[in-house]
């Protein structure tokens, strides 16, 4: 039986992420998921972009691809089409996936490319010093919104659903068991799957918004999310929570099947 240890480049640890950063939790969940599914390391590509989450490839024993900022899904589309037998798992932060890479996300979901996209959403650009991202909640303090973020945020999960993804879910690093389950479902899903994981950035977002240290931030995340079913019954002001759960899980032909069908 495979162990998560087989997927982790131990000699590369400790990783570069800050104390209390949730990226390590997501990395562990990924290695556990791959072990549980018994996917051989040489049949996995971990593809990432730029920013804190972009470094994830430095810590795995699988194939690794780190592209340019925001373009991960476009690179991954090429990798997948050339090597469909390999699982391509894309890890992109909120800035990576929703800002500079937003268009690629829409089109990867629309084509329903058989990729797994994990979006660790730490609500800001950590690597560059805590600037706001499209997914930063409005009124948040960041290093580029000292008076509070003027822009609204958007729901990247609903975007992926509308665009055509086969599987979309959201959870947090607080909900480790749920994260594990969703991750395995996402990896197994044929077609485009997206898992958004809310994760603490105590160094910037937590500090700027007085949310406390890592443990307090996790508690804050736990208080800030509610199950999807309950969220759907809410309206108006109450809907300021994040929902968590499985937003869509549906069957649709993936991009390569369509290409081969047309070819």
């Amino acid at each position: 039986m495979a162990s998560y240890r087989d997927y982790l480049a131990w000699e590369r640890l400790p990783h570069l992420w800050c104390a209390g950063c949730g990226h390590g939790v997501i990395l562990k969940a990924l290695t556990l998921a791959l072990a549980a599914l018994e996917v051989p390391p040489d049949k996995v590509v971990v593809a990432s972009g730029i920013g804190c989450s972009g470094r994830i490839g430095d810590y795995v024993t699988t194939h690794r691809f780190q592209g340019t900022h925001g373009r991960t899904l476009a690179f991954a589309t090429g990798i997948h089409l050339a090597r469909p037998e390999v699982k391509v798992i894309c890890v992109m932060g909120d800035g990576d996936a929703a800002a500079i890479g937003g268009n690629h996300l829409i089109h990867a979901a629309r084509r329903n490319v058989d990729l797994t996209a994990i979006v660790p959403n730490n609500l800001n650009y950590g690597m560059t010093g805590g600037q706001f991202s499209p997914l930063t909640p409005p009124a948040s303090i960041s290093s580029t919104s000292r008076q509070g973020k003027a822009e609204p945020a958007f729901d990247i999960c609903h975007l992926a659903v509308v665009a055509g993804a086969s599987y979309v879910a959201r959870t947090t690093v607080y909900h480790v068991t749920e994260m594990q389950k969703f991750l395995q479902e996402a990896i197994l899903k044929k077609g485009f799957s997206l898992l958004e994981v809310l994760t603490p950035c105590p160094t910037y977002y937590g500090r700027y918004n007085a949310l406390g240290e890592a443990a307090q931030m996790l508690e804050w995340l736990n208080r800030s999310v509610i199950p999807l079913a309950r969220y759907r019954q809410m309206s108006g002001d109450e809907a300021r929570y994040w929902w968590r759960g499985r937003l869509v899980d549906r069957e649709a032909p993936d991009f390569l099947s369509r290409l081969k069908g047309a070819g």
Binding site: L8, L13, H15, G20, H23, E213, A214, A215
Partner: protein
């Protein structure tokens, strides 16, 4: 590498070993805060200390929650 191995016996006759790796630990305090049984306390140097091994139920939450691969809980049935 510093590894503290603390074998423990619960009432249910399970052998539990909690491994803490100081080389990997970044002292974020998550294991201390979230252990449902209060197994960990924070030491003077900021690192977690296993204070009450006998309370550990082997639930593994500290392992899943640790962002730094610094905690492992071995449970022998």
């Amino acid at each position: 590498m510093v590894i503290l191995i603390l074998p423990a016996k619960t009432g249910k006759q399970r052998h539990i070993a909690i491994h803490l790796d100081h080389n990997l630990c970044k002292r974020c305090g998550i294991c201390v805060a979230f252990c449902p049984q209060g197994v960990f306390v924070t030491g003077d140097d900021g690192y977690p200390v296993v204070a009450a091994t006998e309370k550990c139920t082997g639930c593994q939450l500290c392992f899943y929650r640790c962002p730094d691969f610094a905690v492992e809980v071995e449970v022998d049935k």
